[in-house]
């Protein structure tokens, strides 16, 4: 009858209001490979609508920020080193959701994503890339040297951040504050000697340190098969328990991080995670990224394993968000990036009298020799 038809139509219309979205859903996540562990993280993850939207927004922000940096670099507005993170967003976002802001994190040079998740703003990050006074390090650090509270960079020397991270973990243990340190490195750095020294000390002293290897399959232009005698990076800690997981799935990363954090906080000592991930760009902006891998390979990862698409598909197919809603987030993110890029290109460069500042902390002002004996420059703490 006409009445029944109209009733039916009303039901269809009301399904599109927010109140009808699924507030949370449980997803199956891939099992982790385990090393010296009896049990691993759970095989299912619960995702609420709010969490999903937040992860989507953050990953999309990192993605668009990195692509904008690519653009600015090609326009020569960003110079020097620029190592982009697009493709690996699930790692940074997933890790941050598994720890607290009061915990600590240190990584290598592919650090823009972490600078954001650890509390930096897109504006400050982009202005640092363009070397302006509004940059997160006032323009004095650049791409590889960004810092925020409880985030120790941004480190240029391959592998050097790992012993430093263990030192932070040592401080956590010494101070008894129940905080942990997440210490990241790549598949290339995984063969560095100082990392093995660090494994030894962290294990000996049971430091609350999560070692995380972001394995994106290439150390600069060298594939893991050509670089490492053992590509089971999660086992390289030997006496340190390890897990290997899908770094393209933000929920996988989150659950594994929570598991690892619990391990550390309970005093069991360090633990190692290997995140299998992929970077779409080359090693840095001076690497096209196609001389050591095929465009087909890159395309395949993009179409089958993209972290943002994966989350989007999950949310849409479980009615946790609408296509329009996600598009709206995209638009907002694009605007945020545009505004930040605008700021980053128009903010003035640092003043010359900042040149010699920040040599020492808490010291009286001093003189610094300029390029010739008659030039004495001022330096304040």
């Amino acid at each position: 009858s006409v009445e029944e038809f109209l009733n039916g139509a009303r039901v269809v219309v009301s399904a599109r209001t927010y109140a009808d979205f699924t507030p949370q859903a449980t997803f199956d996540i891939k099992k982790c490979d385990l090393h010296k562990l009896e049990e691993g993280p759970p095989l299912q993850a619960v995702l609420t609508r709010e969490e999903g939207l937040q992860y989507y927004r953050t990953m999309q922000t990192i993605r668009r920020m990195e692509l904008k940096a690519d653009q600015l670099y090609k326009q020569k507005i960003i110079r020097g080193f620029c190592h982009l993170y697009d493709g690996q967003e699930a790692c940074a976002v997933g890790i941050e959701t598994g720890i607290n802001l009061s915990d600590h994190l240190i990584t290598a040079y592919r650090a823009h994503g972490y600078t954001l998740t650890r509390g930096g703003t897109v504006r400050e990050i982009m202005a640092e890339l363009t070397g302006r006074r509004g940059g997160i390090a006032k323009g004095k650090g650049g791409s590889m040297h960004m810092y925020t509270k409880h985030f120790y960079g941004g480190n240029g020397i391959v592998g050097a951040q790992v012993p430093l991270g263990a030192g932070v973990a040592l401080a956590c243990k010494y101070l008894g504050n129940n905080e942990i340190c997440v210490c990241l490195y790549g598949d290339g750095a995984a063969n560095q000697g100082q990392i093995f020294e660090t494994y030894n000390m962290a294990s000996l002293w049971k430091l609350p340190c999560i070692f995380i290897c972001e394995n994106n399959k290439y150390g600069m232009g060298t594939s893991v098969e050509r670089a490492a005698a053992s590509t089971d990076y999660y086992k390289r800690g030997d006496f340190i328990p390890g897990l290997r997981l899908d770094g393209m799935d933000v929920l996988c990363v989150r659950e594994a991080t929570k598991f690892a954090a619990e391990h550390c906080r309970s005093g069991k000592g360090p633990i190692l995670m290997e995140l299998q991930t992929y970077r779409y760009h080359g090693h840095s902006m001076s690497d096209p990224g196609v001389s050591y891998r095929t465009r087909e390979e890159i395309q395949e990862v993009r179409s089958k394993s993209d972290p943002i698409s994966m989350l989007k598909d999950r949310m849409l197919s479980n009615n946790m968000a609408s296509v329009e809603e996600l598009k709206e987030i995209d638009v907002e993110v694009r605007k945020e990036i545009e505004d930040a890029a605008q700021f980053a290109t128009t903010d003035p460069e640092p003043p010359l009298d900042d040149l010699c500042n920040h040599i020492f902390y808490n010291d009286p002002p001093m003189e610094v020799r300029g390029t010739n004996p008659w030039t004495k420059l001022k330096s304040v703490s």
Binding site: A160, I359, F360, Y361, N362, D363, S381
Partner: protein, 231 residues
């Protein structure tokens, strides 16, 4: 061994406060024996004063006496910046008199200030660490011939107390630097360059001279080792 860790000292410690534009200070002291010992041969005898002294962001300290060691180490620890504290293995066993004040609990010596260990009018001897003992011995010998040396104990390599050296040279008109390290690009080289660039140049009656270790890796045999460093 310090070269094994030197990347961390320079790239992770010295530069961080600057790179972070003041967000991340690094209050740390790196201490250990530096320079030639006795019979430990080439890989264990290098002086790093010049290497560390080269780097902005570091403070480099080189004590000679017991009071230097105590006062400077306390100051180094209380300093909120990376300090490299270069000790000397052969000085560990040398006794020194310490004043009441030096024995007190909070005895501090300022980093960046040299000390005049012996007053004199005829020639300025500038040195650090174990070589200060050598300079004082030489001064005693020269005093018998009527030559009065002013011996300056640098105490700090970086920042260098150029003013103390300049004041002395403007009085004595002659300068000799004495160090255990190699000559090229060394501590003495820096001091001489600064004197050249500063007001004391016009007061020199003769070119300044550097006395240094011989420009070779440290040999093992005693006769060779003895002849590789200033005597």
């Amino acid at each position: 061994f310090s070269m094994q860790a030197i990347d961390q000292v320079i790239n992770s410690a010295a530069k961080t406060y600057y790179m972070s534009a003041g967000l991340q200070p690094v209050p740390i002291v790196f201490r250990g024996p530096n320079g030639a010992s006795a019979g430990v041969a080439a890989q264990h005898s290098q002086c790093f004063a010049a290497w560390y002294g080269h780097c902005p962001g570091l403070k480099v300290v080189s004590p000679w006496s017991a009071e230097d060691a105590k006062g400077l180490l306390k100051s180094a620890i209380r300093d909120d910046n990376p300090v490299v504290f270069l000790e000397n293995e052969l000085m560990y066993g040398v006794p020194f008199e310490m004043s009441e004040e030096a024995q007190s609990k909070d005895f501090l010596l300022p980093i960046g200030k040299a000390k005049i260990e012996r007053q004199g009018n005829h020639v300025t001897l500038v040195s650090h660490s174990r070589m200060v003992s050598l300079c004082l011995d030489a001064a005693a010998v020269l005093a018998k011939e009527g030559i009065e040396c002013e011996v300056i104990n640098m105490r700090t390599i970086r920042p260098l107390d150029a003013e103390a050296i300049e004041t002395s040279v403007m009085k004595t008109n002659h300068l000799i630097t004495v160090e255990g390290g190699w000559p090229q690009f060394g501590v003495g080289a820096e001091i001489l360059a600064r004197i050249m660039e500063g007001p004391a140049f016009n007061f020199l009656d003769a070119p300044a001279v550097r006395v240094t270790g011989v420009d070779i890796p440290m040999p093992y045999a005693k006769i060779l080792e003895d002849n590789s460093i200033p005597q």
